[in-house]
Symmetry: C2
Subunit: 346 residues, 2 copies
């Protein structure tokens, strides 16, 4: 969309001109969207279902580094991480609002790129952009996305429904996004010290892609519906498996055993972890940002979940008194440690 | 809530401990709130009505200055400005989400103050806090609030319904919040130059209150319902009357005449404008942040709107070709100029 070399300051358009430019290419496709951008508020018809709302704030320098994050990818990811929360309720996202605070160093062409990514996500996941706020900041970019979805009351899956004997499952594989981030950070350091060196990104496409352009597991939600399985508890993996399973356990009043040998790792993740002198399983347990779904099911539902979908049974729910346990490949039992991202301890 | 001298770094609690501390005092009161804070998303029952969603992003240094803004007031105002958008749709706010990005200079006690203000607004307007996100920033405080409300489809009032011959009305009085800001900015400058001088805030309570602790016009919405009047168009006054009436006119495809002599000004606003060598009417037209309601009604509805409520008829809707006109007290006609806040031209 943006021409390569054109650079236009945001002040050339003004706030309302800017909003018009950024949002005019978005067409609503959801029947539930009655009024989108342009009034005091958006209007949504929940069509007899329950409304589900989730919100995230992404801050430059904390959640993303523009040195290695293309703005289009950033726009895409900002939407996807919110949709992931809606899917994690076993619900269908329908609308989003996007608010931006940006400093004067951002040009209109840069914002066009960001919005191209937002638009791509909207199209891919069939959600409508229905509102937002655009303002300036003294430094850096802040993106706030709110996602709105719907579900039948009986389909909703909360974090508090896990029961003793339930199987603990995850979609996809874990740890890749974390290693993608390690590669990008390494290349940034090298670039800053030796700007002439070419980046060493061999065999890293998968890992970097998982970091820069994650997808939300819409397919898993559709699959549950098709197979007529309702998880007993579910959440999306954003902080890391160790930290996130504890949320389910705390809210459900149960304990858990995670089988180290069953935690799914991609081959690329395993190999790259060793290159970085990291324990692959630690990356999978604590890496974060995988946006896979962590869910628990009744044991008898396991056989219903067959077919093309990949998911792994990685442990089971136990009594609360048994605590949170990691069972190693050599069958030793250790307390599971939550080392999820803590932005306040950085 | 916070003890005067106690200072605790946020890292002492961690992200989840912090969220627990800040949100545990909030009790949901709306029947439509099925699930609040604590899961991937909140769940709302719109109870057969349409859902209305609005969002705002407030940035330190752009929208507020912590030198003269008490955090409790800031929390209150952050909520109120969003609720104002919901009322401006002739809808009832029911839930909010609050996301924060904050630097390490903020203590837990400071956040307690901010949340005390948020809680006060929730209690006063009977809305439930149902979600959010708390993260760090490299500098400054960013607050993102999303408000969710409901309305019967037939009650919703948009910006695009104004028709030729409609009367243009506003609630309350205009320009006070702008002058409140001028006083606070003046006192800040004086304080920075002469820290020993006492602030000169005589007779400024009303103006400063309008800036630091505005209210949303819930009462006007209730009054419309009681009097069985449905405005043809409505929005809340956040950028300033001149700028905001143009939004209604553009979206409705009409023009307007604003009668300078009818624009409501409080005595305090008038007097303080003169002290600052400002034209009082300019303050009322372009000041912004009044959070009064700007609405248009059928002329025959004027007689229905009687009683205790104060609102002013300040002009009428004309044909599009007649443009946007200010009729001065001496009956001269000038083009209305939108000089609303443009954060990108500061």
């Amino acid at each position: 969309m943006a021409e390569d070399k054109k650079v236009t300051p945001i002040s050339a358009l003004g706030e309302f001109g800017l909003i018009d430019r950024l949002t005019s290419g978005f067409k609503s496709v959801q029947p539930s969207t009655l009024k989108g951008v342009g009034d005091d508020a958006a209007v949504i018809d929940s069509l007899g279902k329950k409304t589900v709302v989730s919100t995230d704030l992404l801050v430059e320098g904390i959640h993303f580094d523009l040195v290695y994050t293309p703005l289009k990818h950033l726009g895409y990811k900002s939407v996807v991480v919110n949709l992931s929360d809606i899917y994690a309720m076993n619900a269908e996202p329908q609308q989003i609002t996007v608010s931006l605070a940006l400093s004067s160093r951002f040009t209109i062409e840069a914002l066009d790129e960001l919005y191209a990514g937002i638009k791509l996500a909207c199209q891919h996941y069939k959600v409508d952009l229905v509102g937002g706020d655009t303002t300036s900041s003294l430094s850096g970019l802040v993106i706030s996305v709110t996602a709105i979805g719907t579900a039948n009351a009986e389909d909703l899956v909360y974090r508090n429904g896990a029961k003793e004997g339930n199987l603990i499952c995850v979609t996809g594989d874990l740890g890749a996004a974390y290693l993608g981030l390690q590669i990008l950070e390494r290349e940034k350091r090298i670039y800053l010290e030796h700007p002439d060196l070419q980046p060493e990104l061999e065999d890293a496409d998968y890992l970097i892609g998982r970091q820069l352009k994650p997808e939300a597991r819409r397919d898993a939600i559709a699959y549950f519906k098709e197979m007529e399985v309702k998880p007993t508890a579910m959440m999306d993996l954003s902080d890391g498996l160790s930290s996130d399973i504890m949320h389910i356990c705390t809210q459900s009043g149960v304990g858990c055993q995670i089988l180290e040998g069953e935690v799914p790792l991609a081959e690329e993740t395993y190999n790259m972890a060793l290159k970085f002198n990291l324990d692959p399983i630690t990356c999978a347990l604590n890496g974060g940002e995988d946006y896979e779904l962590l869910f628990t099911i009744e044991p008898e539902d396991e056989t219903k979940l067959t077919g093309d979908q990949t998911f792994s049974v990685i442990g089971q729910i136990t009594k609360k008194e048994e605590g949170y346990i990691l069972v190693t490949k050599s069958n030793n039992k250790h307390p599971l440690k939550a080392q999820g991202w803590n932005h306040f301890k950085g």
